[in-house]
Amino acid sequence: MHYRAIYTMPNKVLDYFKREYSEASFLLFFRVMIGLVSIIEILSLKGDLFLLFSPTNTLMPQELMYMETGVFRYLYPMSLFLKENGLFDFFYQFILSAYLVSLLFLVIGFLTRFSALFTLILQLIIFKSFAQFNYGYDQFVTMSLFYCFIFPVGKYYSCDNLIFKKKNVEIFFNYQTVLQIHLCIAYFFSGLAKALDSGWWNGKSVWNALVSIDSNYYPVPIIYIVGGILTVLLELSYPILVNFKKTRKIILAAMVLMHLFIALMMELYAFSIIMIVWNVAAFGELDLVKEKRNHKVLV
């Protein structure tokens, strides 16, 4: 009995990742939304970007910005190489335009896999150059661009299809599952970390997260307490509730509301939008593209 269970386990795991329905809507939605969110985010920073990423005008020397971060040993030699070869100014002029163009290519699905990899590398170089000014959004963009590179996001409704006359081929692997599991892990540990902090049960952490010297929004303590407990319960229960069909829509709606609240109250717009995109891409019932059958099966 045990031997049989162990023997069949690898097959069960493989089956778990097998595609049961069309991945076209998921892949198209993920590619386009990640590209658009990244474009909007960097454009929203455009007026300030020279203070964070430029050859001479940054708030503090660029090396100082990534000195005490994990990327120093990668970016510092690159910076030295550029300076020694007289490419420093050209690099800063070129890299932002290249990042925007490669994001546009990703959105329209032109040389998609190459564009995704190029965008990922540029995103890391640009944003890790001011790593101390990074927050959760930047990590999620890196993850998203990595998935855009690994997932066949250019297989459907892309310029690659038109130019290279590729057929819309069905993909047997359930890439959406990867995103689903990743999101469940993220919410579970986010909920667990909050559950271990008494501040999330008595409202103090919500107070700390929300109250700023620029706002006059101080509701009665009970709102902080209820908000804190709801956040912990939502995040901890997400991996379970989202996997039941009956509760999926409810927990998804609750998560979208929570992120909208974070966007409005904490002004973390980009982070909230990318989390909503992940939720919808992973668990939203996307039927933008009708399922196509009878296509050749391909990885």
Partner: protein, 195 residues
């Protein structure tokens, strides 16, 4: 080969997701231990980020925990700079250092929190050994970082003689009267010459 593809892809993603899972465990346990016991946990660790595999974690973006605003959520931090003339009168004060966009100001808030944690970490190290090289380096790093934040503008103000950079934190007052003003406390305050 065609038959092996699904197997290879599945294995790759399983390993990738397992790394994410263990990164979640390790960062949660580390943060919990660090906050409650001021030390690193003496527990066995599996699949941790190290010098050899770090490139993969950075490239894939999984070099992060997910306990955003989790253990030890602290109140918001702000940098404030005050420019003084030769009589020590305030010329002007600023909190944004030229940043105008909501996005840029949010990122500055993140930097303020980062520096607050860095300063707190340095204070802990000072208690252990105030003369160690690490403490010397970190002290110099804090001084230089804060100096640079106001340096350019201070040099551009004609009658500016000195400037003070402060890292402020909101003093938690959870049940405060709505009419009472929020109190701030300076975690670090450095005065620099402008010329």
């Amino acid at each position: 080969m065609e038959k092996a593809k699904p197997f290879i892809i599945t294995i790759f993603f399983i390993v990738h997701l397992v790394l994410i899972f263990f990164q979640g465990i390790n960062t949660t346990v580390d943060n919990y231990w660090n906050f409650h016991y001021q030390s690193k946990p003496d527990l066995p660790k599996f699949l941790t980020q190290n010098e050899n595999n770090e490139w993969y974690y950075i490239l894939t973006g999984i070099n992060t925990g997910y306990g955003f605003y989790g253990i030890k959520t602290s109140s918001k931090k702000y940098f404030k700079i005050s420019y003084y003339d030769e009589n020590s009168n305030i010329i002007s004060t600023d909190r944004y250092f030229g940043l105008n966009s909501v996005n840029g100001i949010q990122r500055l808030g993140g930097y303020s929190s980062y520096m607050a944690n860095y300063i707190e970490g340095t204070k802990k190290l000072i208690k252990e050994d105030s003369l160690s090289d690490q403490v010397k380096f970190r002290r110099e790093y804090i001084t230089k970082s804060m100096k640079w934040l106001g340096k350019k503008k201070a040099y551009s103000i004609r009658n500016c003689n000195s400037y003070r950079v402060e890292l402020l934190t909101i003093v938690p007052d959870y049940y405060k009267d709505l009419n009472k003003k929020i109190q701030l406390y300076a975690l670090q305050s450095n005065l620099y010459h402008a010329k």
